[in-house]
Amino acid sequence: MTINTEMKVRVTEIRQVADKVKRFRFERAGGGPMPVFSGGAHVIVSMRDGKALRRNPYSLMSSPEDTKGYEISVLRVENSRGGSAFLHEKLKEGDELVLSQPVNLFPFDQRGKKHIMMAGGIGITPFIAMMEQMERGGKAFELYYAVRTRSHGAYWKELQQRYGAHRVKIYCDAEKLFIPVGKILANQPLGTHLYVCGPAGMINGVLGKASELGWPRQNLHAEEFLAPPPGKAFQVRLAKSNRAIDVAPHQSILEALEANGVDAPYLCRGGACGQCETGVVSCDGGLEHNDHFLEPDEKASGKKIMICVSRITGNAVTLDL
């Protein structure tokens, strides 16, 4: 079952904050407070774009204690599946949208003595809310933020002003400055936790370096939401309800199910949380696992699939639904 009490909200402010990055503020359409969340949480934004219903996860970046509204920042992605293009080009102030309750798959470890955050580009968003919460709680933290150019990087100036240049460090690709990961990680006190949010290559590079330097995996945290990658069309057969549903090239299995009125469970829609794990009864081709959740042996077994991001290479797959 999906825990998903949806909230109707109105867009109260849209602001361009950097090249290709816009910030959106949402407040309840009928007035009243939003739930308090914890730094690192995200919401699923449901967008009605013509005939299509898009649901994308975005990290909350406003203060976790601001119950008047939620804010997200969205990068306009080239070749977007439609979510970021819709938000950037079609959504206007005053429009109404539907948000899920906040869900946190990327919380900071409250037992930690110190917190090191490394962000790449738009991966900065969950850390803005986290730092707000850490500052309030008197936690020691440092942010290392990599941006392509200073005009592409959102919020770096504000963050440096607020927390000081000793705690917020900016590394700009265009100036040939890169986060000195090894140097930073080699010199941290016991009880430090590391958080990474950015492109897959950055996450793998940073976490790999940390493991090489003897950091235990309990102290390593990362979040990357995947957009469901497109592929070829195929058919999904539902074993329990005895139905057949077509999945289009730019649709995920989950989206195809929803478009046909099937209420399948989900939480993050980005291959991270494990909520949409579904049993595979049979498949006439290979499974294309695109998630971060299943263990390699589970992926190899061919018995499970995360329907929010994964596909098949064959023509038909039968799911235990």
Binding site: R111, N187, L190, L213, Q218
Partner: protein, 201 residues
């Protein structure tokens, strides 16, 4: 008499020397010395160059494990007179330690539990500790009624060292306290407790 099959009962994974560790800190008690000596046999002595060893002999003083440990040639070796003194030193060393240092605890369960408490206070996740149970299976148990802690409990039931109640030892374990839980066994009919059984030699 023992209440077993409780999930919180700790499992000790055994020491293992991660080649990525920047430093190794060993806190050892009694027969726990043998866990390190076995690691040297298994993987060679290289890791000792970056190792600090703290040792309290406790009940195995006569075995002279301390001499074997001292002869290993670790970066530092320190023989503590008692467990509390060792824990104090461990606390100071962890306060100066860096990420990348691996912490190894070996000895009786009561010792591992107390050393783990010290590490947790430095923000260390217990799952990232290397632990190996060696020596007696005697337990450190908290009386859930008076909160008194009794070390080296070998029987169940046992008499609480603080309030005297007859306590049934459960596998229910508190990481925060580093102790198992003991519950009064004859509350309805004081004096009707069964005879203590030697369960944790």
């Amino acid at each position: 008499m023992l209440v077993a099959g409780i999930k919180s009962r700790p499992v000790y994974g055994g020491l293992n020397i991660d080649r990525h560790a920047m430093r190794h800190l060993f806190a050892l008690e009694g027969e726990g010395a043998l866990a390190v000596l076995d690691q040297v046999k298994a993987v060679g002595p290289d890791f000792l160059k970056h190792a600090d060893i703290l040792y309290a002999a406790s009940g195995s003083k006569d075995q002279e494990h301390d001499r074997k440990l001292a002869a290993l040639g670790a970066d530092t070796f320190w023989l503590a007179p008692t467990i509390p003194v060792l824990l104090n030193r461990l606390n100071v060393m962890l306060g100066q330690a860096h990420m990348g240092a691996h912490i190894h605890l070996a000895g009786t369960e009561g010792f591992i539990g107390q050393a783990q408490q010290v590490a947790m206070n430095h923000g260390v996740d217990p799952a990232s500790l290397h632990t190996e149970h060696r020596g007696s299976t005697a337990r450190r148990v908290q009386c859930v009624h008076c909160k008194g802690i009794t070390d080296n409990v070998t029987t169940s039931p046992y008499a609480c060292s603080a309030c005297g109640l007859s306590l049934l030892v459960r596998d229910h374990y508190s990481r925060r306290l580093g102790a198992f839980q003991g519950v009064c066994i004859d509350a309805e009919e004081p004096g009707s407790a069964p005879k203590p059984e030697e369960l944790f030699p």
